[in-house]
């Protein structure tokens, strides 16, 4: 496989324009770029921040593994993912996925597939900090996220 995923786990925010440019600059074989950005929601101002914990090493490896599957399955020309950790406030970015390919459905599917798997397979955990100073506890895994995987089973 000559297409290599670009996967980063970092505390810093990302620049979506620069990340798209990294994948597309100087190329004329790309017809479709799909990006997904996941943002922290304020839940009606009840949330002051999310705190994201991850398993260093395994997080990169696991997302890379899933991204390689996406490249193969959808014939992507490139894919990148950046997942942040640490404290993230409402309105801020949590995760970015970019998929590029010649045609639109492959790029949509590649980004969607990686996000669905990342949600349930990448070793990240979210803790809520409430606006009233309370510890909101660890976010529970959602059945809906497991269900979302079903659409990718053949």
């Amino acid at each position: 496989m000559s297409v290599k995923p670009d996967i980063r786990i970092q505390q810093a925010d990302f620049d979506i324009k620069a990340e798209i440019a990294k994948l597309t600059q100087g190329r004329t074989d790309i017809g479709a770029v799909v990006t997904f950005s996941g943002l922290c929601r304020g839940e009606g101002d009840t949330l002051s921040a999310l705190e994201l914990e991850h398993y260093p090493g395994m997080a990169e490896a696991e997302i890379t593994r899933i991204a390689e599957q996406a490249i193969e399955r959808f014939g992507l020309l490139g894919i990148s993912a950046i997942h942040r950790y640490g404290k993230i406030k409402p309105g801020e970015n949590i995760v970015l996925v970019i998929a590029i390919s010649p045609h639109r459905q492959a790029s949509f599917d590649g980004a969607n597939f990686l996000m669905d798997y990342l949600k349930t397979r990448a070793p990240f955990w979210k803790k809520e900090h409430k606006s009233d100073g309370e510890d909101g506890g660890w976010v529970d895994a959602k059945d809906a996220d497991d269900d979302a995987l079903a659409k990718w089973q053949d």
């Binding site: 490896a61 990342l118 070793p123 979210k126 660890w138």
Partner: protein
Amino acid sequence: MTVKLVYFAWLRERFGMAEEQVELPESVKSVSDLFDWFETRGEEFANVMEHRDILQVAIDQSHVQDRDALLEGVSEIAIFPPMTGG
């Protein structure tokens, strides 16, 4: 056998540590055996093991679903709640 045990999220908080180096008893051959042994390690460990059915395990940084998976020769075992990334 000596292994590094790694904990995340509320397991880390409840155990009061992110990781520990332990000498596993001879009897601990599988993930299932490991969980049984945890139940004997004191109240907080036993309490966490009430959730053993939903706990996730990674052996040397690879997910392991099978509770009969063998631990021989591994160096790092991570235990954590279901993941909530993205």
